[in-house]
Amino acid sequence: MGTVNDAAFANKLGHFYQNMADGMGQFIHTQIGTLPKDKVTSLTDQQNQLINYANMFFTLSDRIAFEESETYFKGISDATDDIDKAVKEIKDVNKAINIAAGLITLAAAIVTENGSGIVSSLQTIAGAIKS
């Protein structure tokens, strides 16, 4: 199994052969009318070989990258879980704050002997606990 650097190296080799194949293609394209048939055949055979090499290196690069990817993308999923936990922590603290707020209101309602206030703050607390 290779590394991501190996995959990048294979990609670079692919580009090298691709550039050679493109260059030869341009030559054939502009000279095809003036070149003898056997020369054209020989040049296109060589160009085909260069295309095949380039394809081989790009395919190899992808294969190595795919083999490596599992480790790294698993790492990113772990990061996402960690962040989600942090966001959930905020929600949990919010819940605690809401319960505390309900308790303060309840205390005020009890002090003032406000019956409906007691009921509504109890409902608030129950709602905050459930959320």
């Binding site: 991501v4 995959a7 990048a8 990609n11 692919g14 580009h15 691709q18 194949a21 493109d22 293609g25 054939i28 394209h29 095809i32 009318g33 054209v40 296109t44 160009q47 085909n48 295309i51 380039a54 394809n55 790009f58 395919t59 690069s61 992808d62 990258a65 795919f66 490596e68 990817s69 790294y72 993308f73 790492g75 990113i76 999923s77 772990d78 990061a79 996402t80 960690d82 962040i83 989600d84 942090a86 966001v87 905020i90 929600k91 603290v93 919010n94 704050i97 809401n98 505390a100 707020a101 309900g102 303060i104 209101t105 005020a108 002090v111 003032t112």
Partner: protein, 280 residues
């Protein structure tokens, strides 16, 4: 405790509120980070819009690299592996998209410690020995709002720092892998275009009939243009991934100073660049 709060203390409390407000200015929310993550998520989700992937390449190359039409009639292109590649790449985009969505949630306005209910619970009035004036209630409510921002910003910055320090390398390498996939596929499509040109040249050289020539040129041009469009789409995708990678790198390098003006400008710049690349 509240009985110590009365009108004469209000100026002191207001001074405190002013001080907290100043602190708040120093600890502005992470909205630039949020803008960056949002544009990153948009880009990563755009992968669904590219309708030419490994399997499409496999089918096209299967025909273009085979020179004999007679052989092709019974030729099995066997693109099963490429279809698997497409689904793996799709998952990789989803994993990255989830990561930036989560980071955005942490940096964004959606995740605040909400102290407001405590503020709301304090209303003016007399509670036994305790008297809370309208002004005092207002000040407490305002303080609760400020505390919300202060606590949240500090918490978020700390968490984002932890995440970036722990996972930056993993994210950077994963992005490189995505870019390699893009470049490899785009380059193979490019090679297919080179082969297409070669076949067009050979066929043109081998015929003298105008009708045949027109057919060859037309077919060649159509396919050449189609593949060119696909390559341009992958170019854009590569560039936007590069910007996301650079943005993440900038966040990592400034992890101890997420609120610096320089970083804010830089991060917003990346967000705009990503949006620009996606829309042009």
């Amino acid at each position: 405790m509240w009985n110590t709060y009365n009108m004469k203390n209000t100026p002191t409390v207001l001074c405190g509120l002013f001080f907290f407000s100043l602190l708040q200015v120093a600890c502005v929310p992470l909205k630039e980070v949020h803008a960056f993550t949002e544009s990153s998520v948009q880009t990563l989700e755009n992968d669904h819009q590219i309708d030419y992937k490994y399997a499409d390449y496999c089918w096209d190359s299967c025909y273009l690299f085979n020179t004999s039409g007679r052989q092709l009639a019974d030729f099995d292109c066997n693109c099963g592996q490429d279809e698997k590649y497409d689904s793996i790449v799709r998952k990789e985009y989803d994993v990255l998209s989830d990561y930036f969505t989560a980071l955005g949630k942490l940096a964004g306005a959606g995740s605040y410690f909400n102290f407001a209910p405590i503020g709301d619970a304090i209303q003016e009035g007399t509670y036994g020995n305790l008297t809370v004036t309208a002004n005092e209630a207002k000040v407490v409510n305002a303080l609760a709002t400020v505390a919300t921002d202060l606590f949240t910003t500090r918490y978020k910055s700390k968490k984002i720092k932890e995440i970036l320090e722990k996972y930056h390398d993993t994210v950077a390498i994963a992005m490189e892998i995505m870019q390699l996939h893009i470049d490899n596929l785009k380059s193979r499509i490019g090679l297919m275009r080179t082969k297409l040109q070669q076949r067009g040249d050979l066929l043109m050289a081998g015929t003298s009939a105008d009708g045949e020539k027109w057919g060859i040129v037309y077919t060649y041009k159509q396919k050449y243009k189609e593949l060119g469009r696909v390559m341009a789409t992958y170019d854009k995708r590569y560039q936007s991934l590069e910007k996301i990678k650079q943005g993440h790198q900038a966040l990592f390098e400034n992890v101890n100073d997420l609120h610096s003006e320089g970083l804010k400008k830089k991060i917003l710049g990346f967000a705009y660049d990503i949006i620009y690349i996606n829309n042009h």
